[in-house]
C-alpha cells in the first residue's frame, strides 16, 4: 500500500475521487459505512477474539493436564483471588470455560464468518456497490463491538465473569454473581448486531444482485450466507426473549426459571417460584441449534468456492447442494431438543427429535459428498487455501459422523455429559469451520490488499495446525468413551475409573500449546503480507465469480462499471473456450 501497486490501482483511485469527496480518517477507517471496511473490522476483531478465547483455553488445558499444579512463569499474574500461588481455583476455571465458549462462538467465529466474510465478499460476489443499508451495517458492527467490550469488562467486576457455561443454564445462572448480568447485557448487544446484520444481508442479496444474476447463478457462498441470515434473523429473537426473562429473574426478582422450593446451599431460596428451568433450555437451544448451522454454513460456502476454483471444475451437484442448504435451514428449527435428551423428556418427544435429527444429517451429507465428488478428475492446485479446504472435508466428516450417536436418544445418554461431546463439537467447529475460515483468509486476501500471502508460511501453518488439531481433539473421544465428565475442574483426577485415560489429558494440552506455536507463522504472514506480499493482478486465482472482476483492493463503490452476470458461477474448463475459466461477468 506504500507505493502504487499496478496500473489498476491508481486508475481506480482517480475514479474514486471523481465520484466521492475524500473522507477523513475517522469516517474512512473507523466509523465507515463501506461494506469492505466493515467486513475487515469484523474480521480483525473476530480474529482477536478467537485468539483471546484460545488463550483462555490454553490456561484451562494446564489445569486439566496437571490439576492443582502451580502454573509456571505466568501463574502469578492472575492474582490471589483467581490463582493463589499459581494454582487455579475452580471458580476461575468455570469463568474461563464459560467465557471460552461464549467468546469463540458469539465473538469469534460468527463475526469472522458472517460479519467478516459475509460483509466483504457477498456484495462483491453479487456485483453490488455496497450493502443495502450501509448505516445499519455500521451500527451492526458497533453494537457487536459494545457487546464484546461488555464481555471483556465482565472479567473485572466483583466475582469475575460469567461462570455458568456458555449455555447459562438456569437456575444456576440466575443465582450466579454479577458477571452473569454483564453476560446477559453483552448478549443483548450481540443479538441486536446479528439481527441488523441479517436483515441487511437478506435485503442486499435479494435486491442488489447484478443484472442477470438469478438465484441459481449465485456462487454457493452467497447461498450459504443467505440461508445463514435467515437462521440468525429467526432464531436469535427467542434467545433475546430468554435473555430478557433471565435478566428479570436476576434484577427484578421474578421466577421465570426458578421452580418452587429451590434449595441453594441448604437454604430454601426466597422467591415466588413456579418457574421452569427447562424453559430456558428450550429457548436457548431454539437459538443455539440453528447457531451451529450459522457456524458451519458460511464455512461450507467458503470451501465450495475454493474447491471449485482449485479443481478447475464446476461444483458437482450445485443444485442439489443448494436445495440441501435450504432444506437444512428449515430443518434446523425443529431439532433443538436433541441437546436435551438428558433432561428426562418423554419417549414420544425424544423419538420426534431424534427422527428430525437423523433427517437433518442427510442434507449435510449431501453437501459434503458433493464437495468430495467435485475433486474427482480435477487437476488440483495444492495452494494454501485449497489445503485448508481439503483439510476441512475429513475434519468436518469426523465431526459430523461422531454426531450421529449423539442424535439418538439411547446412545446420547451415556455420552452426553462426557468429553465425547467436546470432541465431536470441536471437530465440527475448530478444524472444520476455522480451517474453512483460514482458507477464506488466504483466498480473499489478494482481493482485500492486492497482495498474496506467503505460500511457504501458509503451508507450515496448515500442516502444523492439521496435525495439532487432531492431537488435541482425537484423544477426547477416548476420554469421553471412558466416561469422564466434561464439566470436571480436575479433568477427572478424582475418579478411579478415569485413571487409565488421564494421561490423554496431557496429550491434548501439549497439542493445544503446540497448535498455538503453529499460529505464529500465520500471524506474521498476515501482517507482513499486507505490505510485502507478492503483488497480484485483480484475479490471481483465475476465478470465475464476480468479485474478481473488481479492482484489488476494490475502491469505494466496488466496480468501475456495474457488472452483469451472463452465466452460472463455476464455468471452469468449458470445452472449446479459449481459457480454462469463463468469468460470470464476461459477455
Amino acid at each position: 500500500m506504500s507505493e502504487p501497486t499496478s496500473v489498476a490501482t491508481p486508475g481506480a483511485h482517480v475514479s474514486h475521487e471523481a465520484h466521492h469527496e475524500e473522507l477523513g480518517f475517522w469516517r474512512k477507517y473507523v466509523f465507515s459505512t463501506d461494506h469492505k471496511v466493515i467486513g475487515i473490522q469484523y474480521g480483525i476483531t473476530g480474529l482477536l477474539f478467537l485468539f483471546f478465547g484460545f488463550c483462555l483455553m490454553m490456561l484451562m488445558r494446564w489445569q486439566l493436564a496437571y490439576p492443582g499444579a502451580p502454573l509456571p512463569l505466568i501463574g502469578a499474574l492472575f492474582g490471589e483471588s483467581r490463582m493463589p500461588g499459581g494454582s487455579m481455583l475452580p471458580e476461575f476455571y468455570n469463568e474461563l470455560g464459560a467465557m471460552h465458549g461464549t467468546i469463540m462462538v458469539f465473538l469469534g467465529v460468527v463475526p469472522l464468518a458472517v460479519g467478516g466474510f459475509g460483509n466483504f465478499v457477498v456484495p462483491l460476489q453479487i456485483g453490488a456497490p455496497d450493502m443495502a443499508f450501509p448505516k445499519l451495517n455500521m451500527l451492526s458492527y458497533w453494537s457487536f463491538f459494545l457487546g464484546g467490550v461488555t464481555m471483556l469488562v465482565s472479567f473485572f467486576v466483583p466475582g469475575g465473569a460469567a461462570q455458568s457455561g456458555w449455555t447459562s443454564y438456569a437456575p444456576l445462572a440466575v443465582i450466579a454473581g454479577t458477571g452473569q448480568t454483564m453476560w446477559l447485557i453483552g448478549m443483548i448487544f450481540l443479538i441486536t448486531s446479528s439481527l441488523l446484520g441479517a436483515i441487511n444481508f437478506i435485503a442486499t442479496i435479494i435486491q442488489l444482485r447484478a443484472k442477470g444474476l438469478t438465484f441459481m447463478r449465485f456462487p454457493f457462498f452467497v447461498w450459504a450466507q443467505f440461508v445463514t441470515a435467515f437462521l440468525l434473523l429467526l432464531a436469535f429473537p427467542p434467545l433475546e426473549a430468554a435473555g430478557v426473562m433471565q435478566l428479570m429473574d436476576r434484577v427484578a426478582g421474578t421466577s421465570f426459571f426458578l421452580p418452587s422450593g429451590l434449595v441453594v446451599s441448604g437454604q430454601v431460596l426466597e422467591h415466588a417460584g413456579g418457574g421452569n428451568p427447562l424453559l430456558w433450555q428450550h429457548l436457548f437451544w431454539f437459538l443455539a441449534h440453528p447457531e451451529v448451522y450459522v457456524l458451519i454454513l458460511p464455512a461450507m460456502g467458503i470451501v465450495a468456492e475454493v474447491i471449485a476454483n482449485n479443481t478447475r471444475k464446476p461444483l458437482w451437484g450445485y443444485r442439489s447442494m443448494v436445495y440441501s442448504l435450504v432444506f437444512l435451514g428449515f430443518m434446523s428449527f425443529v431439532v433443538w431438543a436433541h441437546h436435551m435428551f438428558m433432561t428426562g423428556m418423554g419417549t414420544a418427544m425424544a423419538a420426534f427429535f431424534q427422527t428430525t435429527t437423523m433427517i437433518i444429517s442427510i442434507p449435510s451429507v449431501v453437501i459434503l459428498t458433493a464437495l468430495i465428488i467435485s475433486l474427482w478428475g480435477g487437476s488440483i492446485r495444492f495452494n494454501t487455501p485449497m489445503l485448508f479446504a481439503l483439510g476441512f472435508l475429513p475434519m468436518f466428516g469426523i465431526g459430523g459422523l461422531t454426531g450421529l450417536p449423539l442424535g439418538l436418544n439411547v446412545a446420547d445418554i451415556p455420552l452426553h455429559d462426557t468429553y465425547y461431546v467436546i470432541a465431536h463439537f470441536h471437530y465440527v467447529v475448530a478444524p472444520g469451520t476455522i480451517f474453512a475460515l483460514f482458507a477464506g483468509i488466504y483466498y480473499w486476501f489478494p482481493k482485500a490488499t492486492g497482495r498474496r500471502m506467503n505460500e511457504m508460511l501458509g503451508k507450515i501453518h496448515f500442516f502444523g495446525s492439521f496435525i495439532c488439531m487432531n492431537v488435541v481433539f482425537m484423544p477426547m473421544f477416548w476420554v469421553g468413551m471412558a466416561g469422564v465428565s466434561r464439566r470436571l475442574f480436575d479433568g477427572g483426577e478424582g475418579y478411579q475409573f478415569a485413571q487409565p485415560v488421564l494421561h490423554l489429558n496431557a496429550v491434548s494440552s501439549w497439542g493445544a500449546w503446540t497448535l498455538a506455536l503453529f499460529q505464529l507463522p500465520f500471524i506474521f504472514n498476515f501482517f507482513w503480507s499486507i505490505r510485502n506480499g507478492e503483488k497480484t493482478d485483480d484475479n490471481p486465482w483465475q476465478a470465475t465469480t464476480i468479485e474478481w472482476s473488481a479492482p484489488s483492493p476494490p475502491p469505494h463503490g466496488n466496480f468501475r462499471v456495474s457488472p452483469q452476470a451472463y452465466r452460472g458461477p463455476y464455468e471452469y474448463s468449458v470445452p472449446g473456450a479459449a481459457k480454462d475459466f469463463v468469468a460470470q461477468s464476461e459477455a
Binding site: H19, P129, D130, A132, F133, P134, L136, L195, A198, I199, N200, I202, A203, I206, Q207, L208, L233, L234, A235, F236, P237, P238, E240, A241, A242, V244, M245, M248, A252, G253, T254, S255, F256, H271, A272, G274, G275, N276, L279, H282, L283, F286, H556, G557, N558, F559
Partner: protein, 196 residues
C-alpha cells in the same frame, strides 16, 4: 455509487430495499414476542393455580388503551395517505395525532403500573405479574421506539419531503408498518393478560 432501489422498486422483486428490510425486522419481532407468548403458555399450564387477569388488572383502562392504539393506527394510515395525496400539512396533523395517542397510551399505562406498585404487586410477587410486567414492559419499549421514529419524521426527518418526497413517503409507510405491528401485539396482549 448510489445504492439502487431505495426509492424506485426493483422490477423483478417489485420491492424497495426498505420494504424488505422492515418486513424482515417484523418477522424477527414476531419470533421475539412469539417466544414470550410460548413461555407464558408453558408457565401457565405448569402452574397449579393461575389468577384470572381481571381479578388483578384494570380491564376498563386497558379497553380504553386498546381503543387509543387502534385509533392511532388509523391516524398513522391517514398520515401516510396524506403524503400520497401530496398534502403535507394534513400529514403533520395526523402524524402529530399518532404520537399524541401513543403518549396517551403510555400515560394510562403509567397509572396502571403505579397503582400496582402501590398495592405492593411487583414482578417478583408471582409469575402472573412477572409475565404481565415483562410483556407489557417490552411492548411499552416498542411504543416508545415507534413514537421516537414518528417524532423524527414529524420533526427533523421531514426535511426529506422537500428534496425527495417519494422516499419520505416510503419511510413513513415503513414506520407505519412498525406502528401497526406494535398495535397488533397489544391486541394479542390485551385478551391474553386481562381477560383469560
Amino acid at each position: 455509487m448510489e445504492i439502487p432501489y431505495t426509492v424506485e422498486v426493483r422490477r423483478d422483486t417489485g420491492l424497495t430495499n426498505g420494504k424488505i428490510g422492515i418486513w424482515l425486522f417484523l418477522a424477527s419481532e414476531v419470533m421475539l414476542f412469539g417466544a414470550l407468548f410460548a413461555s407464558y403458555i408453558l408457565i401457565r399450564t405448569g402452574a397449579p393455580t393461575w389468577p384470572r387477569g381481571d381479578s388483578i388488572l384494570n380491564v376498563p383502562l386497558a379497553t380504553f388503551n386498546t381503543i387509543v392504539l387502534i385509533t392511532s393506527s388509523v391516524t398513522m394510515v391517514m398520515a401516510w395517505a396524506s403524503l400520497m395525496r401530496n398534502r403535507f400539512s394534513t400529514f403533520r396533523l395526523y402524524m402529530g395525532a399518532t404520537i399524541l395517542l401513543g403518549g396517551v397510551f403510555l400515560v394510562v399505562k403509567y397509572f396502571e403500573y403505579s397503582h400496582k406498585f402501590h398495592d405492593h404487586l411487583f414482578p417478583s410477587t408471582n409469575n402472573f405479574l412477572a409475565i404481565y410486567f415483562t410483556l407489557t414492559g417490552l411492548h411499552m419499549l416498542h411504543v416508545m421506539g415507534g413514537m421516537a421514529v414518528n417524532a423524527y419524521f414529524l420533526g427533523p426527518g421531514s426535511k426529506l419531503w422537500k428534496t425527495n418526497p417519494e422516499w419520505f413517503t416510503n419511510r413513513v409507510e415503513h414506520s407505519g408498518l412498525f406502528w401497526h405491528f406494535v398495535d397488533l401485539v397489544w391486541i394479542f396482549l390485551f385478551p391474553t393478560l386481562y381477560l383469560l
